[in-house]
Symmetry: C2
Subunit: 248 residues, 2 copies
Amino acid sequence: MRPACLPCGLAPEGLERLTGVSPRPLPVGHGDHAFRPGDPLRALYVVKSGSVKVYKPMADGDEQIVGFHFPGELIGLDGLATNSHTCAAAALETTTMCEFPVIQLHEMCHNYPLVRHEFNRLLGNHLTHLRNMLLLVGRKSAEGRLAGFLLDLSGRLKARGYSPCQFYLSMSRLDIANYLGLAVETVSRVFSRFQDEGLLSVQLRHVAIQDLDRLGRLVNAGSGLVGPFRPPRQLGAMTFAGAATMSS
Amino acid sequence: MRPACLPCGLAPEGLERLTGVSPRPLPVGHGDHAFRPGDPLRALYVVKSGSVKVYKPMADGDEQIVGFHFPGELIGLDGLATNSHTCAAAALETTTMCEFPVIQLHEMCHNYPLVRHEFNRLLGNHLTHLRNMLLLVGRKSAEGRLAGFLLDLSGRLKARGYSPCQFYLSMSRLDIANYLGLAVETVSRVFSRFQDEGLLSVQLRHVAIQDLDRLGRLVNAGSGLVGPFRPPRQLGAMTFAGAATMSS
DNA sequence: CGCAATATTGACCACTCTCAATGAGGGTGG
DNA sequence: CCACCCTCATTGAGAGTGGTCAATATTGCG
């Protein structure tokens, strides 16, 4: 029922708990990169504080954001296929991350079936998330996409004990637009429309959701591909055992 | 460079070779299901002949296709996250598949690091594919999507020794439209336009591509989100070690 | 041979992109 | 502390892609 806009997960400290390793967090500043395309896959990273965007730089200098990541979430899986990263990961604000060298991870997977299972489950969740994202971006209207995006954010924050209805967007409108495949102006307009309709109040990067239910109905409503009455669409559960998520 | 529309892969018989198991193919008829949402994840399946669509049934009876799969490709990974399938897999024509029980797979992963690595790589490839698909569906025009779809098909068939320029579409226009997030009419229209422009010739489900290059340029051209001149967009390599692919 | 499903084509219209202008914040230097 | 600038965000007007509705082939099947 909950829309899927962002990564999906595994218990936040799951990896740390399972591996018994908890490296000290590395601080990075706004705009700093954890990895870039072409970098060998040395490690996976767990965000400890702040937030990160994972994106694919394109040939023409443009970029495509494939995920936003918050504390407890794992990034770096984009390098799994080829052992070298295909995406870049940049901090959206001052951020700290823990590094898990892949060599250690491989050893752990070898020695502890539980780690392996957890890791597989985590990958499966990520696949699920991407499939849901595909639905959102491929079949939903601008309103549906933004609603889905916000609900996903809300859900993830709630899972971490933050307020699900009041939060700060660490990414710019441009990032959101890029992520959702919309124009910046459209994002802005939809925010305004939502506010006018009393769904939420938004001021710059501060969002306060006022009607979660109605927002949810928006996600499962408009695809512009189905019929005059926009029948509801299930997006598939994003409910996970753990409280955290993972990413690209 | 090659657009990514469909699953990505692992050596076709990679799983069989690695596991040393090669079960006999099970035949299924058009419309028969290998699994449905809610089914426990008993096995993964490799398509041996024919073709399969993997899709998510929605609340309202509609469906969302998340992949088409051809001989050599693996399906069933949608159940990895929760140990039960979230998608359905239906044969598009008379099809045979080999079954790989997950229990065996787990044992193999435990006993043979190579299997585990291969499996991880394969999952990574699938993630990459989905990310590329996200790009295609989220940022490309109708022409770009169909071009990407056809090129992906072309590439996969070529990798298997079939003609990359002449093939039969085992899925209906409705399936294609569903998969690409378009209306059936749009798919039909774009096919016609492509034919008018000499890019390909199409008659019902038979397609003959006449200008692969120009088709490729279409994919990296129109996003409708970038600027007046539609700068080219890299979609990321879909080149895999093996000749086969995997799926949902 | 007809019925049903699939595919194509046309007319119309809505959503959202593009272009352009204005407003609000945040930073730097005077 | 204020002026200035630059980025980010908002808002409006016009245009275009693609969805919807509807009618007409074409195919496949009983």
